[in-house]
């Protein structure tokens, strides 16, 4: 799907990508991780044909710059920061559906609805005036509705609340089984259950490229029960955000989340480890 050989990119005297070699095959779900400045976004922009570079880059067997329109019809992209677009939700949806060969307006509304965003109700609102989470959901819906062969997302879940994130992960797991994915993220726990390959970048180089088994629990709903040694308001608030029910006067909580969120959930509650008496996930 994507072949990159000896890729170099410089901005002035600064080398941002330094001899990248990577083959991304159909069905690969890659977490592209690394610190700020590692070169993740630059690599994504090269794949999208937005940067010129030295070396060989082909996407679906074609040049991402020369054949950009043909290639971009098959790529869904979600940026890290929602662009400050003045047009309304309805206009943005129409615009995206009109310029993309494979996108239908109804599919965008449906995907948005699946992610928990009622786009019809927000049709007349300016995109810029939506909340961060709503913007992200709409951008994800626009990308997913293309039924892309390659899905590229830069920190896709950063602005989503726990419910939005769960819906988003379920969407990815169910509707894009044949899609090749490239997820850029600072945190591996965000995406670990969605991926089958981890590529780590540092100072413009690939320093780790490992394949991992896709979690069998990723799309399963897990029941969880937590008992604290004493009531904790901060923990209660966090668990409330995860849609957990409080029982037993704030000592005990019960709720559900999908397997893809397991590591994220455990990381979130790990700070209360000393106050947890019992934790059951099944």
């Amino acid at each position: 799907m994507i072949k990159i050989n000896n890729l170099h990119k410089r901005f002035g005297k600064i080398s941002v990508l330094d001899g990248i070699d990577i083959d991304i095959n159909a069905g690969d779900r890659i977490a592209l991780i690394g610190q700020n400045g590692a070169g993740k976004t630059t690599l994504i922009r090269v794949i999208l044909g937005q940067y010129l570079c030295e070396g060989e880059v082909t996407v679906l067997g074609k040049s991402p710059r020369r054949d950009r329109v043909e290639i971009l019809n098959k790529i869904g992209f979600v940026p890290q920061l929602p662009p400050p677009i003045q047009m309304t939700v309805e206009e943005l949806i129409s615009f995206s559906a009109n310029v993309s060969a494979n996108t239908k307006r109804d599919d965008i509304y449906q995907k948005a609805s699946d992610l928990g965003l009622d786009a019809v109700e927000n049709n007349k609102k300016q995109f810029q005036k939506l909340s961060g989470g709503m913007k992200q959901k709409l951008l994800i819906a626009l990308a997913l509705a293309k039924n892309p062969e390659i899905l590229i997302m830069d920190e896709p879940a950063a602005n989503l609340d726990p419910q939005g994130r769960q819906a988003f992960f379920l969407q990815l797991i169910h509707s894009l089984e044949g899609t090749t994915m490239l997820l850029s993220s600072h945190r591996i726990d965000e995406v670990i259950n969605l991926i089958n390959r981890i590529v780590e970048m540092d100072y413009g180089k690939i320093v780790q490229d490992d394949r991992i088994d896709l979690s069998v629990f990723a799309d399963k709903l897990l029941e969880c029960n937590i008992v604290f040694v004493k009531p904790n308001q901060t923990a209660a608030k966090i668990l409330h955000d995860w849609n957990f029910d409080m029982i037993n006067g704030g000592m005990e909580f019960q709720g559900r989340f999908i397997g893809a969120e397991r590591l994220k959930f455990l990381t979130t509650i790990s700070r209360f480890a000393n106050q947890i008496q019992k934790l059951n996930i099944h």
Binding site: G49, Q50, L52, R68, L72, I85, F95, V99
Partner: protein, 275 residues
Amino acid sequence: MNNLLIVTGFDFKESIRAKWFLLYIIVFGGAVILLFTLGITESKVMGFTGLSRLLITYIQLCVAVLPILILISTVRSVVGDREANVLEYFLSMPISLGSYFWGKILSKFMLVFLPIFGALAAAVIWGFLKNLSIPWSIAGFYSLLLGTLAWCFLGMGMLISTLVKKQEWGLGLSILIWLALLLFIDVILIGLMMQHKIIEAVIISVALLNPIMVFRTGAVLLFDPELTSIGPSAYVILDHLGYSGFLAYSILYPLGLGWLFAFFGFFRFKRGDLI
């Protein structure tokens, strides 16, 4: 072609919501209303009266304000989109670079030209209702001159927008260019150059290369075929090119210059990093 029109429509809708467009409408629409309110058609200045007097005043306004307003609004197009991450998102969609760039220019041209043309049309309609004599051919040629001037500065603005890395640099450069061009109109530097007996060919070349000067001379020529009301270099130019020759030049030169700037801007945009 379809995507070009989609981008044009998108950019048009985005721009009419922007504050600069409101300012632009207020300046040109408000100016015409002000000219009517002040009863400028009744006064006689520079030998003109009636609707011609109003149009002459409108020309002076356009000479001074139109280029800088167009530059300020256009110069942020590409570099502004780039800085705001709009470009990254839109160029991840299957839109050709040509559709993006020319769609933007087309939309900006409509945004810039329609209000000034609308104001001009309003003046003509108002004159018609007031039973003033309507200088139809003048109004037609003047619209053409306004269109070509707008196109020239749009091309220039888009070129600057593709060359600079920050909006501030683009705005600074635009103001610098505008000031330089204003300085080199007939009544200021060229008059000074004539006083200092600089070679006539140099003075004429400077005047003929300056699109603001060409527009101003061409526009006044419509009302005053002898150019008695403007400065000295205009006579010399008129002597060399004649009435029709200069009128043709004042339409074709800014038009060609605008295309040249726009093509160079597109070439620069296409050949570099997009964001």
